[in-house]
């Protein structure tokens, strides 16, 4: 992995993960542009497919956060779409999944961390949002704070560990067992990629929904 392509623009080093991410972004943007350039009231097959994807994501988000679903839907949907493609990119020869890079998963986890506070404060306000760290008892404040950091760290490490171990296992089996043996491992790779993308996005959704609705839950209690 040390032989991966990279270049530097001043102090900024652009590695393979960033280049792959740009490629994924370009593909997603191209598909989005192609599928939405001629939207009709009576949809065609491509429009029907992308509408189905967006509606499914929207319904999943709304099911968890009924009152604020539309506000956080773009963030969660982008997470799911990006992670699904990023996790599956590793199946293409000579390409590596960006999510096997701890810097990438950390960046996504940090984005989730800040998004939780951003949407929480925007929804509830500073005072109400920070107040939920003192409930049900101020004694629990340190645990709340530790929880915020550990769950972010867990998000990053979980995705990074699963995707990196998956690629390494596939590589080792390919080296040991020959050409045909890795096919079941590739099937497992697809399933694992989808499951990890779903888990990361769903956890992010739950954290966001928890932050935005924590005050309401406390009021109901």
């Amino acid at each position: 992995m040390e032989n991966e392509f990279s270049f530097a623009i001043g102090p900024v080093v652009v590695g393979a993960s960033i280049l792959t991410t740009w490629g994924i972004m370009a593909v997603i943007t191209l598909i989005a542009w192609l599928s939405t350039r001629r939207l009709e009231m009576l949809p065609g097959s491509l429009q029907t497919m992308v509408e189905g994807i967006v509606v499914a994501i929207d319904e999943a988000v709304t099911a968890v956060a009924p009152e604020h679903g539309r506000r956080i839907m773009p963030f969660i949907a982008t997470l799911w779409l990006f992670l699904i493609i990023a996790n599956l990119v590793g199946l293409i020869p000579e390409l590596h999944s960006p999510t096997r890079d701890l810097s990438v998963t950390s960046a996504l986890a940090v984005l989730v961390f800040f998004s939780v506070h951003w949407f929480g404060i925007r929804t509830l306000g500073w005072k109400k949002y920070l107040h939920h760290y003192l409930t049900p008892s101020p004694i629990l404040l340190p645990f709340h704070i530790i929880s915020e950091f550990t769950r972010t760290l867990a998000l990053a490490i979980r995705l990074f560990g699963n995707m990196m171990s998956l690629e390494m296992a596939a590589m080792l089996i390919l080296l040991v067992a020959g050409f045909l043996a890795p096919i079941p491992i590739l099937m497992l790779h697809i399933i694992e990629a989808l499951v990890q993308a779903y888990i990361f996005g769903m956890l992010a959704l739950i954290y966001l929904a928890g932050a935005m609705q924590s005050q309401q839950l406390n009021s109901q209690e």
Binding site: S17, I28, V55, T78, S103, L108
Partner: protein
């Protein structure tokens, strides 16, 4: 496994840019068109609901109108049946009256026909009786019957009404009166003498008697005295009997 701060920072920037791109290029247009379609479908459903309500109202109105028409039809049918019953009763009464009148006419006609038949039968019976009597008298006639008829005539001459007697006495004031006596059988001299005496006593003028035979008289006499004819014969009697049948005609 090593952490690269440049990759970390660039990934954050990339992801934020991707969110912005997808929000502008993908989510918003798709959600807008889905919302428009939903609005269109809701509007169509609302329009369909409105049309359905209007259709229900029209159906209720139509059913009410049908019910009213049915009631009107029943009322008209009832009135028509009443009129038909009244007309039927009137026609029946009229027919009964006509039949009664015709029955009376037929009865009168039958009675008249029966009377005519009875008259016809009586006439026929009289004619048969006259014919039978004529045949019987023609076969049984003879000088004896004639003698009895002469006797009967002489007796009747005695009992003539006074008006007749007066006419015979004053037969025109003539000096001699011819008297023609016709008989079916020759008269005996005694009979002639008795007849002349009786007539002479009735007539004031001189009387000349002439005697003749007329077999058509069957039996008896026919006496011509000027304008007077005294008949005492069967021919005359039978003719009188036959005249009765003419009275029926």
């Amino acid at each position: 496994m090593e952490f690269n701060i440049s990759t970390f920072a660039l990934e954050i920037i990339n992801f934020l840019i991707l969110i912005w791109i997808l929000q502008r290029l993908f989510y918003k247009p798709l959600l807008d068109v889905i919302a428009k379609r939903k609005q269109f479908i809701d509007q169509s459903l609302a329009d369909a609901d409105t049309v359905r309500k209007q259709a229900d109202e029209q159906r209720d109105l139509y059913e009410n109108r049908l019910m009213l028409w049915e009631q009107e039809k029943q009322t008209a049918l009832t009135a028509l049946h009443q009129q038909l019953d009244a007309e039927r009763r009137t026609q029946l009464d009229r027919l009964t009256a006509d039949l009664e009148q015709e029955k009376q006419k037929a009865k009168v006609t039958l009675t008249r026909q029966q009377q005519e038949h009875q008259q016809q039968a009586e006439k026929q019976a009289l004619q048969n009786g006259a014919r039978f009597a004529a045949m019987l008298l023609q076969q049984s006639a003879g000088p004896e019957l004639e003698a009895r008829l002469i006797t009967l005539l002489i007796n009747h001459l005695v009992t003539l009404p006074e008006a007749c007697k007066l006419c015979l006495q004053t037969l025109g004031g003539k000096k001699s009166v011819p008297v023609k006596v016709s008989s079916a059988y020759p008269l005996a001299p005694e009979q002639q003498q008795l007849l002349e005496q009786k007539l002479d006593s009735l007539i004031d003028s001189q009387v000349h008697f002439q005697y003749a035979r007329d077999a058509g008289l069957i039996a008896g006499l026919s006496i011509d005295i000027g304008a007077w004819v005294l008949n005492a014969n069967l021919k005359h009697e039978l003719a009188g009997f036959a005249e009765i049948t003419h009275d029926f005609e």
